[in-house]
Symmetry: C2
Subunit: 192 residues, 2 copies
Amino acid sequence: MNTAVMEKPAKVAKNGVDVPTLLATIGAVKDMPAAAKFQFRARGEWVSGTHSRATVNGFFGAGEEQGRAQDFVIEGDHPAVVCGADRAPTPVEYLLSALAACLTAGVGNIASVRQIDLTSVETTVEGDIDMQGILGLNDEVRNGYEGIRATVKIKGDAPVEQLEKVVRQSIARSAVFDMLTNGTVVDVTIDA
Amino acid sequence: MNTAVMEKPAKVAKNGVDVPTLLATIGAVKDMPAAAKFQFRARGEWVSGTHSRATVNGFFGAGEEQGRAQDFVIEGDHPAVVCGADRAPTPVEYLLSALAACLTAGVGNIASVRQIDLTSVETTVEGDIDMQGILGLNDEVRNGYEGIRATVKIKGDAPVEQLEKVVRQSIARSAVFDMLTNGTVVDVTIDA
């Protein structure tokens, strides 16, 4: 009897994910939980009207300060119909895009670890908001979305049930889904 | 007695905000609450690994479909230290930026309606996240931020107390602050 047949095949890179390194990273964090402590940051500045510009770069993670080769710039504005200059997406559109990006990244990683070749992943997200809240016209109307609906369309070389499980696992491990559905503490300091 | 002295001075445009039009818009929505119903959308597609690209354009609002002259493109990725390609901000950095943009846009509008000239608004936001949650290593650790801290630094031609009140009102009417602190319903449909 050949012992080789008893071993699971080594997992290989898939879908642009370096699976062996990802699994090694997860193993390293398991052995040293302090490495899992991350802090992300954004620095925003007002430009004009409702137009602002945020810069994202350094963060803390894996035990030390991390930098990127260049800043990421994220501009926000309000649309013209609510008197903005419409120079950039609204903050609430960034929220929908963050959810799409988080679920999609999770699908990319999870499918790859499960050695499924992905063909495509399309995530559409929409949110309904009643501006009476923001505009201060009705105290019974909340400021944020009354509800968000997302559809994740996934195609790949695995049975439908396995593809569905990949998406379910991505939802179960999504940072943005967690914060949107469960909320999180936000402390604001005002420096005037 | 001259009746003119009894009238409040007409509010004028400030800080790039067309205040008369903004107030007229709020008045119009007050008279027709159905105009306050908005729906925003994002369409995301997987690119490779944890890299995705979302497109934002049309939305429903003010009683009809609204479009922009061009799409806004929002790319997301994971950083290299967690095996991403680091081609774009992480989804959780978009969340921080959305909060900064939302608070800043609110400050822009509210200060202008109050006829305060703004000099600068700087909003820094940071969030602490323990990756043991996302990585599935510890069920007692949540996926999202354990907490978010923001600092809004505001300068303008008004007493400190008035500037502080502008920021407090912006927080009280922020869609993103509301959703992050109170949560919102998210329904996900899987199409495999």
